[in-house]
Symmetry: C2
Subunit: 275 residues, 2 copies
């Protein structure tokens, strides 16, 4: 009998294995982001971890769904009710001039903004950074992964139920750039092309920072794996030497991470009402 | 001898107690946000929890710090190095026309955007929602609080080290609205006052949703407390009747939360590569 974690991991990996452009998964894109594949493979090579969801970071331009004014809870930025993506990319190479392929109506008479109301469906431009969910065999592994992520600056990480670690950062952009003219069905942009160019450039900068953080996370998980594997095999003298060196590095990294952690907690405690 | 958690809680509460406008804490505002006080008191009335940091939600307008081009890591949105707040409020009442008190230079000739470079210090307009950190006596309490928060839609919550629960949502705005002209030292806005009016209005909507979620969280923590207190006192028949009713409600809420949780986890598993 396999234990429950191993069973779960096997079924998740089988599902990932069958996912491609012809048999998509439940996500809007339908496949795993290219830039996530190395870290996903690295994480899944550890017998005590399995990735359950991932996004390598993206720029998306989104039209909110229809808002029901009679409903008490008018949803902001909701995807339901005919919300739709106007543009999505995970690759900064696709960014330059993305808006030239969208049929925006740019308004210069800014007084027409006044036509927006509580049910106006806004167009939102977003940069969303890397996010990963990783199910761990036990709380000990979850704590290790959590500490590794925090030490790389994934400050909004946390452990949820069933030892699932959410790895999150907050480099974002979240910019309303226009709305839907319900009468003409036109996508109206209330910012200029020059402004779109600015936020596109700023997104490129954010992509850079995002990938730098992804690299750091990759290295931190590598250290975790090394430390774990090194305790369970017969080795040559040379292998032992290399292992000892790597362990030393990993431990130093862990100590550094712990110190960082302690410092952060101390700060948080001082920051009662951090705003 | 007090146990370590009780000691810690006592020292944190003592610190909160002495914080006011004349003896501020380490946060930029220096005191606890008014809108957070009820939930902070509620959480701290539970012997197994203590708040370590909080922000009720805010709008801030921020000028990034000086960027060192020679440093490999040019910080985006960094507060260090002479970054400064241009406007901050936790109260939606302060929002209308906030920009009339700021000496912005509005540019109409959009070609001057071209003057921005990698070291340009941008002005960022942000809406940041409620965030709370709560230290719990043990993992059991942390799990309960985490589940309560998730059930109220605080989807980015998580448990960190030392049983500290981070309670987070993602209703945000993060909008570059201008930059610093280094020569003239002017704050240049590259969006119009009409556009500022739009994002101000959208911030008011987000404040509404934010406070709705804060209310829901308050009720969920109230249920947690009721459930806990009810197990440890002598009571009259009437008290017992009321307790039983409240417990029933709280359990139903917990079951609902658990279901929600399960549903979410299932979704997450299906959403391998959710982007």
């Amino acid at each position: 009998m396999q234990d429950p974690f191993d069973q779960k991991k096997k079924s998740i990996l089988a599902e990932i294995g069958t996912t491609d452009e012809t048999t998509p998964d439940a996500s809007p894109k339908g496949t795993i982001d290219e830039f996530c594949i190395p870290i996903i493979n690295l994480i899944n090579s550890n017998k005590d971890m399995v990735t359950t969801s991932s996004c390598s970071g993206r720029v998306s331009v989104f039209l909110e769904g229809v808002k029901d004014i009679n409903q008490d809870d008018v949803k902001i930025g909701a995807k339901g009710n005919n919300g739709r993506w106007i543009f999505v990319t995970h690759d900064p190479k696709d960014l330059p001039d993305w808006f030239s392929s969208v049929n925006f109506k740019y308004i210069t008479d800014t007084s027409s903004y006044e036509s927006t109301s509580v049910t106006t469906r806004y167009i939102l431009y977003k940069f969303e950074p890397l996010i990963l969910h990783v199910k761990c065999r036990d709380l000990e592994m979850a704590n290790k992964l959590y500490s590794a992520a925090m030490s790389c600056g994934f400050r909004e990480s946390g452990i949820g139920t069933n030892n699932i670690v959410g790895i999150r950062i907050s480099i974002k952009l979240d910019v309303p750039i226009g709305f839907l003219n319900e009468l003409t069905e036109e996508l109206v942009s209330f910012v200029s092309q020059d402004y779109l160019r600015v936020i596109t450039k700023l997104s490129e900068d954010r992509f850079k920072e995002n990938f730098k953080k992804l690299d750091a996370l990759y290295k931190a998980v590598e250290s975790l794996n090394t430390l774990q594997n090194s305790t369970s095999k017969v080795e040559t003298k040379e292998e032992r030497r290399v292992r000892k060196m790597k362990e030393g590095l990993a431990r130093r990294e862990e100590v550094r991470a712990l110190k960082e952690q302690k410092k952060k907690e101390k700060l948080e405690e001082q920051e009662q009402a951090h705003s």
